[in-house]
């Protein structure tokens, strides 16, 4: 090699490797860039929404109707490992989904469906807990981060009982006490009241959250399985949730009192 060329080449190589290192380092160490609360923990406060089409089907799917977009799927391995009986139930759910999906009755979407549902949700965060308010139906789920434990016994909650702790910059949430009356999507995917869900919430960058949920439910699944979606911060100017008490649509027309002509 020509020695005169070697020095500039070496410098170039050094510069390139430094550039590459920087590029690689950014996604691995977002700690400097992510929002943090007064306690130094990652601060998930904000209005979030998934763009995954997961609510139309967790598994990969094509457009089934003119109203339902296709989706690449959010299940690791693409397939939910149902027991044979549960698979039959899922097929029944799918066939009746136009009216059997609890969403069509405005029931609370549940956990984790509310996270990747088609409407945004807002996180309010304090050191002791995270308050998740969902636009659809406007229910509130609390993730306790104050070293409290699940209550004794089994309680049928629509949103489950959520107790979280921090694994460095990841919020790990243990969710139990489901009522088994919610679905996981519009395609009839479901869980039972014995579901044990473990969520992992972490920032990709300040406006993107990686949400992972691992399902364990021997009544319905042959083994644990995991889904992952990204949540995007809603950045529109003055964005806010609009209360959507969906169930009131069934009778809202009767109120308030008519006062025309008075």
């Amino acid at each position: 090699m020509n020695t005169r060329a070697a020095v500039p080449l070496a410098i170039l190589a050094l510069a390139l490797s430094a550039l590459c290192a920087t590029a690689q380092a950014q996604p691995r160490t977002p700690s400097a860039a992510i929002p943090r609360g007064v306690d130094g923990k990652p601060d998930f406060s904000g209005v979030w929404q998934s763009l995954s089409a997961a609510d139309y089907g967790l598994e990969p799917h094509l457009a089934r109707t003119k109203e339902e977009p296709p989706g690449m799927g959010v299940v690791e391995g693409d397939v939910i490992p149902y027991t044979p009986a549960a698979l039959e139930q899922r097929a029944k759910n799918f066939a009746a989904r136009a009216t059997a999906d609890p969403r069509t009755n405005c029931y609370t979407l549940g956990t984790p469906r509310g996270i990747y549902g088609n409407e945004p949700f807002q996180i309010f965060q304090r050191p002791r807990d995270l308050t998740l308010m969902f636009e659809f139906g406007h229910p509130v789920r609390t993730i306790h981060t104050n070293n409290t434990e699940h209550p004794d016994g089994h309680i049928d909650f629509w949103l489950g009982d959520s107790r979280g702790h921090w694994d460095r910059d990841t919020l790990v949430v243990d969710v139990t006490d489901f009522n088994g009356e919610t679905w996981l999507d519009r395609a009839g995917d479901f869980n039972s009241d014995e579901l044990h869900l473990v969520e992992r919430w972490s920032f990709v960058d300040r406006n993107t959250v990686r949400y992972r949920a691992t399902f364990e439910d021997p009544k319905v699944y042959t083994r644990p399985w995991t889904l992952e979606v990204l949540l995007y911060r809603r950045l529109e100017k003055n964005v806010q949730l609009i209360e959507n008490y969906c169930s009131t649509l069934d009778y809202g027309e009767f109120y308030p009192l008519p006062h025309s002509g008075n």
Partner: protein, 316 residues
């Protein structure tokens, strides 16, 4: 296995229930309003500077049965069929020994309804226990949100505070008070709990609430306003953070002959407050430490309810 109904959700049976006068209420209920004057805040503050008023609260007077005579009879036609065995069976105390009207202005304690609106209110009350038309069903009985004021006439509730927000968690519905000065939603978006913008003035949270759909009644006695109503609300906290007074000044030229003000006294619930299945719906959280931590179950009224609230169930 699902046979333990949470008392919290009995509240959903609003058409029928008269649980406000249940046994556990007696220690909590007061017959006068404890004043909390406006002034400076001397108590704890949150890191963002807000007075720290977070925690569990309940009103001290009574439920939404009767807006202007909170501890009086419902005033409904006695011939109407009773919804359950406890309804209308207890003789009320004389008026002078009951709490005053929640309508603190005008001085007569009544909502200044225009004559047509007063007639509509009386019609609603007449059919409350025999709702022969859908419009006679009190929306709250369908698990609809209570609206800005009536939400404070129901079970205990929680206040949570965050930078830029005060959040109220009720049994039926939730409210977010935005403190960041963003503009109101477009005027044609009418909401059950309205659209609220607030700021702190000393010990007082001052809230401007617009975009009201006013579908919720102001009490089971049927008083109402229209979707043109605007409300200015004052949450006036006492210096030690144990009480606050809720004041809501309503303006609505469609239904009212003049503005009026609703006043509701409230008290803090602590780990020492006896559980009474109505005001105090908290329970001790399970944890390894010794300090008392109280929390409330999820508050979801409407799902699977067949219009009247299927109680959540649990086994212990």
């Amino acid at each position: 296995m699902r046979n333990f109904a949470l008392p919290i959700f009995f509240g959903a049976l609003a058409l029928a229930s008269n649980v406000a006068f249940g046994q556990g209420m007696r220690g909590w209920r007061e017959t006068s309003f404890v004043p909390t004057p406006r002034g400076d805040w001397a108590g704890e503050r949150l890191p963002d500077g807000q007075p720290d008023v977070s925690g569990h609260w309940s009103n001290t007077i009574g439920n939404h049965n009767n807006l202007t005579d909170p501890q009086g009879p419902l005033g409904v036609d006695d011939e109407a069929p009773r919804q359950n065995s406890r309804q209308n069976t207890r003789e009320p105390k004389p008026r002078s020994e009951r709490a005053p009207s929640r309508v603190s202005d005008p001085p007569d304690g009544e909502i200044p309804l225009k004559p047509w609106a007063r007639a509509k209110q009386r019609e609603f009350l007449k059919y409350l226990n025999n709702p022969i038309k859908p419009e006679y069903v009190e929306p709250f009985a369908r698990c609809a949100p209570g609206g800005p004021s009536k939400s404070f006439m129901w079970h205990g509730y929680e206040i949570r505070q965050f930078p830029g927000y005060v959040v109220f968690l009720f049994d039926s519905g939730n409210r977010v008070i935005h403190l960041d000065g963003k503009p109101h939603l477009p005027a044609n978006l009418k909401l059950w709990n309205g659209d609220s913008r607030g700021h702190w003035e000393g010990n007082t949270l001052v809230v401007d609430t617009t975009n009201n759909n006013s579908k919720a009644r102001l009490g089971r006695t049927g008083e109402f306003v229209s979707e043109n109503a605007t409300i200015q609300e004052f949450f006036i906290f006492d210096p030690n953070g144990n009480r606050f007074t809720y004041q809501a000044a309503y303006t609505d030229p469609t239904v009212l002959t003049r503005p009026f003000t609703i006043t509701i006294p409230n008290r803090r619930i602590t780990d020492k407050t006896p559980a009474d299945d109505w005001n105090n719906l908290t329970f001790p959280a399970k944890h390894a430490g010794n300090e008392p931590v109280i929390e409330a179950y999820e508050r979801i009224c409407v799902e699977g309810n067949g219009n009247h609230g299927q109680p959540a169930a649990a086994t212990h």
